[in-house]
Amino acid sequence: MRAWRRFRHHPPALVGLGIIVTFLVLAFAAPLISPYDPNAQDLSAAIQGPSGSHWLGTDQLGRDIATRLMYGTRVSLLIGVLAVAIGLLVGVPLGVVAGYYGGWADMAVSRFADMLFAFTSILLALTLVAVLGVSLQNVIIAVGISVVPVIVRLVRSSVLSLREEPFVEAARGLGASDLRIIVRHVFRNALTPVLVHATLSIGVSILLAAGLGFLGLGVQSPTAEWGTMLGEGRQFIFSAPHLTAFPGIAIFLAILAFNLLGDGLRDALDPRMSTADRPTG
């Protein structure tokens, strides 16, 4: 409850949350808000600037940009959430095992994480998509795998320090099994940094997926996806900058929102981790 109070008094975090809620509403209510089909082409109305009938104008195929952005929100949020879910599903167990048991398990898991890190996230995602083929599913898998090493390292280091805590030793002394200690005592206390990081990772994943789309290796046309829209609009950058401007604003706002929310959650849930101001002296 104290956390909620701190969160409530954190204006940037509330702004972030507000943007995310707005995006969610737009994503779900897109068919109610817009009279257009996101993929309906109307070549007679191609590349129009913003107007009363097309709020954000039309693209090179005469599709309504505002409608495509709203439907694109579904794709981007889906990728962001599912990619982070993959990252957590794979990364949390690996990190717990490495941090709790140490020794060879730690050695193996840490080298695996190092390896994925050495690939760097964009290279890993690009290569995976190139090998697996371009599709929404493969983009989610590729981005998800690139989230894994970050989560592994984070969970490992929190578990490593929690393992030595008196309450863990007490549980062990009482004869609790490893599984019980991990689930009840260690994991529960490692949850805060994981939650904060997962929030930030949603933004990073959306950014990465949009980057793949921009390079033409993400979700493929005609599906409306922000990065793909930006990439395709690029050739009209001089004559019709609004084709790239609006998708760019959407990507920027989404990432900004998750960054603000993540910062706010960190300050609210764990003031010790805070980078915010502290009284000095």
């Binding site: 690939f119 760097t120 190139a130 980057g211 930006l230 950058i237 001089f238 760019g248 920027f252 960054n259």
Partner: protein, 308 residues
């Protein structure tokens, strides 16, 4: 010092393990995943003859282990295979593009370090002032900005509207300004956030108050007592950011038509020239691992308190 040397040797050994892992991973990714690796490595436009030749060259009917052995012993001798697109050795292709990317990453890192540290220090010293709020807000926007979009915006403003700088290519000396600024923007924002946080931490310490009480001039207190002690986390971010920049260069180079290895990677993936992709992944991993070793050594040099 003995402990330090042992630690560095250990780091080097672990790096070798990591590199070995990456080589296995990329090897398996291109061979075990669905599809005919000979066809994949030869490129989609290759004739049946070429595909057969590659299959024979790679010894694809042999067990995976001996295939890997042939692959890795080639790599260790600097043989990364032949590009399907240009028929030139992959090592040569990469080597030719490397200086462009390194130049871009170095300039972007310098921008990020200088501007980022300066902005972070000012924000920390003037905590909660208007200046601090402006710097912190701009930094927040900076870390949320898609690099390719920022690039396009900068092209629109400085190349198209104002006509001050070239929009793309690398023919003129000024060509590097926009790509480097684009690539450096994220680092600048990240470094300034880190610097601010780290400085706030240090400026709250007792020795800072002691220095102030002694009557040391504010500049001395901030730079010599503050920044010097806040520098380790900043340095970590800057060094690791350099690695991220090499990766981020993939997008920046595409936007600006900068002839580096990032664009080579995108072009090779588009052309399904997997020999080049494989080589690039190895080279990137090598750079990344070397960078981490460098950071490790740097810690010891910069902070005499750190001994392993």
């Amino acid at each position: 010092m003995k402990g330090t040397a042992a630690h560095i040797v250990r780091t080097l050994l672990l790096s070798l393990v990591t590199l070995f892992g990456v080589s296995v991973l990329i090897f398996l990714m291109l061979r075990v995943l669905p599809g005919d690796p000979a066809r994949v490595l030869a490129g989609l436009d290759a004739s049946a003859e070429q595909v057969d030749r590659i299959r024979a060259e790679l010894g694809l009917d042999e067990p995976l282990l001996s295939q890997y052995w042939a692959f890795i012993s080639g790599v260790l001798q600097g043989d990364l295979g032949v590009s399907a697109r240009t028929s030139r050795p992959v090592a040569l292709e990469i080597f030719a593009r490397m200086p462009a990317t390194l130049t871009l990453a170095v300039v972007a890192t310098v921008i990020g370090s200088v501007v980022g540290v300066a902005a972070g220090v000012v924000a920390a010293v003037r905590r909660n002032s208007v200046v601090d709020h402006v710097i912190s807000s701009v930094a927040m926007m900076g870390v949320s900005m898609p690099v390719y979009w920022l690039g396009l915006l900068l092209i629109l403003l400085f190349a198209v509207t104002l006509g001050w700088l070239p929009a793309a290519g690398s023919d003129e000396p000024l060509s590097i300004v926009l790509p480097a600024a684009t690539l450096g923007a994220f680092s600048t924002a990240l470094v300034s956030r880190m610097t601010r946080a780290s400085m706030l931490e240090v400026l709250g310490q007792d020795f800072i108050r002691t220095a102030q009480a002694k009557g040391a001039p504010p500049r001395t207190v901030i730079i010599r007592h503050g920044l010097r002690n806040a520098f380790i986390p900043i340095l970590t971010v800057i060094s690791l950011q350099f690695g991220a920049l090499l990766g981020g260069a993939v997008l920046t180079e595409t936007v600006f038509g900068w002839p580096g290895i990032g664009r080579l990677l995108v072009d090779s993936i588009a052309a399904r020239d997997f020999a080049v992709v494989q080589g690039l992944v190895l080279v990137y991993a090598l750079l990344f691992v070397l960078l981490n070793v460098f950071v490790d050594v740097l810690y010891v040099v910069v902070d005499p308190r750190i001994r392993y």
